[in-house]
Symmetry: C2
Subunit: 249 residues, 2 copies
DNA sequence: TTTCTTAGTGTCAATAAGACACTAAGATAT
DNA sequence: ATATCTTAGTGTCTTATTGACACTAAGAAA
């Protein structure tokens, strides 16, 4: 996208992706550092006229992560008129973040479809910056750099959605490596929820989902008692995901 | 909208509203009958350039129902390219549903933001058709007329969302009249869920929410034992709505 | 006044959730 | 080598929630 063929794009429509990863007991999110300015942005982009929005979101993430099979879910569409900020767009031109000829396109009123993605941190070898960014990095959700426009709000809504999703479905298959320990899974839950959980009750509950398979092997070369490694049983995991966890009515 | 000033509209973006009502133990939805053709559509419309999408959805519904304080919630955005169906749009012109000069606008690739609304059936005196429709009527969700494009899909997703919402929050304030009986509330739940619930357990559960106030008056002039009338305690209702019902983690 | 239908209530059993304490095993320091 | 530290792994008891189920009360209609 060194050039921008706006004839091929759907006007007024953008997508923004909140890519969550889990590393060193922190919930991370993939952010792009804009050129020439201390401002960061969510990965995303525009929607080609002949491409489904879900496909476009996948494509955007493949460009940044190199991964082509990412778990992705639409969570909200942001359509406030305040998202259209002419001063902000002029500033992007002034600072040479975008070329001047892109200004009319960027200065449209956009509505943005928000997706969140869950990826295994270690599989993203080297996040790839895009045409208007000079870096692509994992940032801790608890220590965010300044974000452009309403991107911090989008990120917050995505995080809230993820928290709620924990009550409806298991999470972990897309965020953890193939093999993991129960304490690691618990740490993931605690990190997303931002609170501590009881070890014994956590184990009992996740085991009751019937989606974990014990490999009978242990994580070696680690301090203290070697924990057992587990894997998700994918069939059961998918079934639990579809059925939902909470019964309700 | 006898004329269509497309300069004022956000290109490519539409909204569709699934308006639920409850009447005679049936879940109803407000639909527009297109002119000159046996095809129905969800109320909705386009988004003015200077108007928030939520506001636009409210406006669209006020035009159809005369109500200006409708409960409205965004639930999904539909962005499949198959929504852009040139043959369908040509047909709309042929049948004089839309004037020929509107064809270019209608034939854009649209993404549509879906909202669902909950309204008290009896408050909508006379639903008002729009410029491309000749009737606006309540239709039973279980007995739908033929719908244009993917509107039946949109409706189904809205209904699924509503079912899930029952597990997270109380429902009824926006769908029932001010005073109602517990059996009526149960009937609403059963209708949305499409299944029978145990009377005693239902009463126990909804009472435990702490959102119902007994008026100590009874519904008179009704067959059989006169049931007690209840009201929602709005403050508690709103609090329950925000806090959510299921604890989960 | 008898019958029919719906409203309203209570109990018991099963399940799920929360609180809590000990033993096991590996790593490190002495 | 052994003592110490830290995390892994397990079980029980209590309480709260859920599901199943049967009777009495009141109004309408026959």
């Amino acid at each position: 996208m060194a050039n921008l063929n706006t004839d091929l794009l759907t006007p007024s429509v953008a997508i923004d992706c909140v890519v969550f990863g889990f590393h060193e007991n922190e919930l991370k999110v993939l952010l792009l550092k804009l050129k020439n300015i201390d401002l960061w942005a969510l990965p995303g982009g525009f929607v080609h006229k002949h491409v489904d929005i879900e496909t476009e979101a996948h494509n955007a993430l493949e460009l940044r992560t190199g991964l082509d099979n990412i778990f992705l879910k639409q969570f909200h569409t942001f359509g406030s008129i305040e998202r259209n900020d002419t001063d902000h767009n002029k500033m992007l031109v002034d600072k040479k973040v975008i070329p001047e000829e892109w200004f009319p396109w960027f200065n449209q009123r956009f509505i943005s479809i928000g997706f969140y993605a869950l990826v295994e941190y270690s599989q993203v070898k080297e996040p790839i910056p895009g045409p208007i960014s000079e870096a692509c990095e994992w940032c801790s959700v608890n220590d965010l750099p300044p974000l452009m426009l309403d991107h911090e709000h989008i990120l917050t809504v995505a995080h809230e959605t993820l928290k709620k999703e924990l009550n409806n479905q298991p999470i972990g298959l897309n965020l953890l490596p193939k093999r993991f320990t129960i304490p690691e899974l618990q740490s993931l839950y605690e990190t997303i929820l931002g609170k501590k959980l009881d070890r014994r009750n956590f184990r009992r509950k996740v085991m009751s989902f019937g989606i974990l398979v014990c490999t009978n092997e242990r994580r070696t070369g680690v301090a203290h008692k070697a924990p057992l490694l587990y894997e998700f049983d994918e069939a059961s995991y998918i079934k639990a995901n579809e059925a939902g966890l909470s019964s309700g009515w």
